[in-house]
Symmetry: C2
Subunit: 319 residues, 2 copies
């Protein structure tokens, strides 16, 4: 952890929690509960690729951490802390202050304190690296490979909002521009259900966070668990502002829209009541949208338009 952090550190100068050692030594120190395993995830965000130079820095700070704690929740892990790498072409105090405010808000919402970092000057453009750490009971992790035949398939939150917001920002869907104000929070301020995810550890089986689109992410579970799925389109939680859209735009946003940062998970039918209670306790909307079956692939029922394999596999990840 290089000393460069000190200069910019005034923007990230939040006290470390009790039992932690924060910024200022060779490493941060973080307590881990006995009988738990460390869960760790990392993301690298590059200006011009993952965000544009004119992005609202507060939203960027929020989202940079949100996408990582989303992965913790999808593993059933409780956040322990995060480290931030920030490479900047120049020191812009207003930008940094806003970025730090957004990052801190997400840190507090998700209970994931910033414990360390590295800041350096970039040649050109902002680069953000976030690594988030959590803990999960030794046998409770929600692994992608844990879905079982007969499991319910659950989805939290609402689908499609972030996808349509991005398309509107790109100038698509003329006549629907008025939607952007309602959809922008879905894209820019995702609120992953992290505490709910960690409460599911030991109760749900498999889980994943929806970052690339429901079908594609569900398919990751199916491949890892060697099973198939039936999804009832009419049961999917569609963002309410999308109801007036043309069917093909809507269906694509709901089934394939990414950047959702909500959970898709599977659980035994006899866990329904317990999971519904957990969702209520955490203020999370969770609904059953399908079932795990033997076999291969995803069968979508009751969709306005047919769904084929091309809708969820064969996507080029290196973009």
């Amino acid at each position: 952890m290089a000393g460069e952090f000190e200069l910019i550190g005034r923007h990230f100068n939040w006290p470390a929690p009790q039992g932690y050692l924060g910024v200022g030594d060779d490493c941060a120190l973080v307590p881990v509960t006995a009988g738990h395993r460390l869960a760790v995830t990392t993301d690298l965000l590059v200006e011009g690729r993952h965000f544009f130079p004119d992005v609202d820095p507060e939203a960027l700070g929020h989202k940079a951490l949100a996408v990582n704690v989303s992965d913790l929740g999808a593993m059933g892990a409780r956040p322990l802390g995060c480290v931030l790498g920030l490479s900047l072409p120049r020191v812009d105090d207003d930008w940094l202050e806003a970025f730090a405010r957004g990052f801190r808000a997400m840190s507090e919402i998700s209970g994931c304190p910033l414990v360390g970092g590295d800041t350096t000057r970039s040649v050109d453009g902002v680069v953000i690296s976030v690594t988030a750490m959590g803990e999960v009971p030794m046998e409770g992790a929600l692994r992608r490979s844990a879905a079982r035949n007969g499991d319910d398939i659950w989805v939290t939150g609402e689908l499609g909002g972030a996808h349509v917001a991005l398309e509107l920002l790109q100038g698509l869907h003329r006549g629907h521009e008025g939607l952007l104000d309602q959809l922008r929070p879905s894209l820019e301020r995702p609120l992953p259900p992290v505490a709910f995810g960690s409460a599911l550890a030991g109760h749900a089986h498999a889980a994943i966070d929806i970052s690339d689109g429901l079908l594609q992410d569900l398919n990751h579970i199916l491949k890892a668990s060697h099973c198939a799925a039936e999804v009832d389109y009419s049961a999917l939680p569609v963002h309410p502002a999308l109801q007036g859209l043309e069917p093909q735009i809507l269906q694509r946003a709901v089934l394939n829209g990414g950047d959702v940062y909500q959970l898709c998970f599977t659980a035994a039918p006899n866990a329904r009541d317990h999971i519904s209670r957990l969702a209520e306790q955490h203020g999370v909307a969770a609904c059953i949208v399908g079932r795990i079956r033997e076999g291969v692939g995803i069968r979508v029922m009751h969709s306005p338009l047919p769904v084929g394999q091309g809708d969820y596999i064969g996507y080029d990840h290196f973009r």
Copy 2:
């Protein structure tokens, strides 16, 4: 942990150790020993700032991890694992293969398995983010603030080699070009004494890894511990290839040369025998170079040229 890792994953497709969950889920899972705390450190390396486009990719892979595990050792932590973020302008198989080979070699040398990552396309230039995690007994961490009046000051390895190698690569020191072959490993393949550092936990007091230069890094300990130091220049372990250099070049390299990734630590005089035995067991050269005193600042004795405060403070970290 985004799916983009899969494409490039073939270059980093090493089995995770027993008890771990590696690449392929939302998070990696890592065991942590009860009674220990997690130590975590992160670095962000940017092409054109921290390394040049024509750098040997194998050396870059080695060093990217070395600088992070060096921080673990300086905290007294035993490595548990690391995550790698890699942003590349294009997929160059030969480059990736060499980078991965260097990274893997360092991973094996230091016992720090790669457990996850995120790979993405950059707009321009390579960006590398490494976060390394380790564990340290609850009360054993080698914090910068733990030096005590009367402690011995120890240094491992050799000083000055990396600094002069960098200057030679920059075209300085005409007439000494023949030195480069002997010094290049110090710059490009640092071997931080990580296992020795973790063995020091509970035996030494304060420690830091020498990345910005001995005096500057020792001064971090002194500031955090509110004490002063006497350093005996004649006791410093100078890289043997440097002996023929002019005194002012040599002294600057030894006292202020960075990129060393060896340890400077303090310990009570009654721990000398134990520490010497530990060093021998780990094949590490460790010698006493001074003493912690009450007061402020660093007094360097027996140096060819005078040393002032300007030699170790007031450095601009944001470069």
